[in-house]
Amino acid sequence: MTASSGAGSVGPRTGRRHGARHSGRGLTRWLFLLPALVLLAVLIVYPIGDAIRLAFTSWDGFSAPHSIGLSNFEDLLKDKRFKESLLHNLAIVVAIPIWIAVPYAVACGIHTKVAGWRFFRLVFFLPVVLSPVVLGAYYGIVLAESGPLNGALRSVGLGGLAHEWLNDPALTLPVVIGIIIWATFGVGVLIFLAGLANLDEEIVEAAQVDGASRWQIQRHVVFWQLLPVIEFWTVIIVIASFTAFFPLIYTLTKGGPGTATFTVDFDLYSEAFTSGRLGYASAIGVVMMFIILVTCGGLVALLRWRRS
């Protein structure tokens, strides 16, 4: 289909071809990049190096760290809590297709200018602005055993579906994942809306003239044009699902019931600051970085797979 190949051409490769035009002014090019690179080198890369170095040491934060080789990583392999937490994080990763689809669909819906779209756009952003403290308190009340949700289920005769949502080992993790998706879909909507606003309308219109159906256009034109944005969102949620959800989980369930919603970032925080095992915590961080990168790489490859 012509439309799809047209969309595909707006890729990084063409950008490069164009770039050749400026290749004569080598220094200017680097000047664009340099400020960001310097800042990143000093404030991110150097600390990352420090953290990686610490991962091979035993350090309590008081005396000097001493090198212990791979010992932290060996311990990590035997660490039941870490492995359990990691499994919970992987369960969150499994939910990622929903996490992409929901904001994508909502953004497309808003983009159609459905009645009240400005209102919806604002309202869908509200959960993002709510602090984890509020979410914890709010869902603690809504999902309580005798709370409004179970009350509603019972009043419509679905009492059988009423559960202890936040105290059932089998249910709590899915419930928490649901809340997390709900609490963050506004960010995704925002990003996808920006992507849709950037659509090359000419290609879409060309497809319409060609008589393509709405679904065909969605699948063959919009999706491919939005692919860089989708890829971006995928990478961001993979990273966030490993590194940024502890506050939410902490206020919602305190990691419970039992250890059912413990996550690696919680494990990391408590190893580093509660127990003061800074070397071990760094090792956890390094392993997480590895897992995150592998997961991201896998998902991006999957997204791009159909393209070729």
Binding site: G61, D75, R81, S146, N167, G258, T259, G276, R277, L278
Partner: protein, 438 residues
Amino acid sequence: MTKPFRTGLGFGLAGLLAIALVACGGGGDSQSGATGGSEANVSGKIAVWDFEYETTPGYTKAIKALDAEFEKLHPGVTIERTAQPYENYEAIYRAAFTAHEGPDIMTMSPGQSGVLSYKNGLEELNDRISPEMNESISQWESVTPGLAAEGPRYGVPFGIQGWVFYYNKQLFAKAGLSTSFQPKSWGELISAGKRLKAAGIQPFAGGNKEGSETWGWFSLGFQSANTPQQTTELAEGKMSYTDEAVTKAFQPEIETQEAGLYPSDRFGKTAIEGFTQFAEGKGAMILGFWTTGGYWGDFNPAIGEKNLGIFYPPGNAQVGTLAGYADSIPVFAKNKDAAWALIEFLSSKKASETFFREAGILPNRGDVTLPKSAPVQARELVEASRSPERVIAPNAALQAAVNFGTMPAEMNQVLQGRTSLEGAQEAMQETAEKTRVE
């Protein structure tokens, strides 16, 4: 880069102020006389990190007044007290220790999970502690390795904290129970609970979502079944968490839970929600604190001073306490002498009286008598804390990772009958071995 400059300036200022002080004939003396020679150094800025400050209104009021008074006594001193969020204070404390840069005084939680887990970065204060101070203050075990009575002190304890049972006398009377209740065995407590239940009264109010009630039950259970030496062994790592002594410590809570004495949604509610239930008369008993929150000061206004009873755990030791918190001086503190003078001042008799008056903090000084207007429960608890039978609350022996992580998480499942106590104890032991501070 600017550090030498700043340090120089600091010394310069300190010198000037010292001269000024001497010239003025020493200014204020009073409480801090015991430190003798260090008086001349009490000047400059004292930076304090405090996680109680600006959170508890009573404490904030008391400490502001006391800081102002100290500054008046020592005209060269300014106190810079910074409130730290309780939930995240570990992060900022750890960062300070790794960089050897931070305040002159840090407030610390008591025991193994607090001050003792930072001991490698804290000043040993024994040389500064006068015999008089050592004598008149209690709860020193909370700041001493192994929770020992003697040994290096890594802070000065403030206040008295612990767990104790409160009961609603009116509801007890309704169920035909004695209104001066003190069970002689856990069995007696459970049968009283069953009687309340039979009378249509909720025996225990409570919420254990975050597992904080389990700390209290464990502590009371351990002191009830074991000896203070065993508490020390647990603290020193000589006793395993798989030991029978620990198994016994968890029994009372498990039995109470199994007997159905708690509300069915106990694990969906927080401890604070439990305290509220009790205050509203929706439960006849609660496992509460000695002071600061979930204590007589919260319950009396709700259910009446005459109506609020206290009972202690049955068994070996009825009274187990630890410090409310401790003030410590990190090794990198820049103004140690002045910091010590402030700590000494805040632990004085007069300051203890202010803390009680404004914030209901129970005094850990033998020479403080509570005013006549003080609630009967406060007076009873203070008296109990001075009895020779009193032991260190065994909860102080738990390492941070066990206390805040493994124990509440594992016991939550054990209490709901989902996992075995044996497995939970093994998990605790594993955490304890991993995270022991040498």
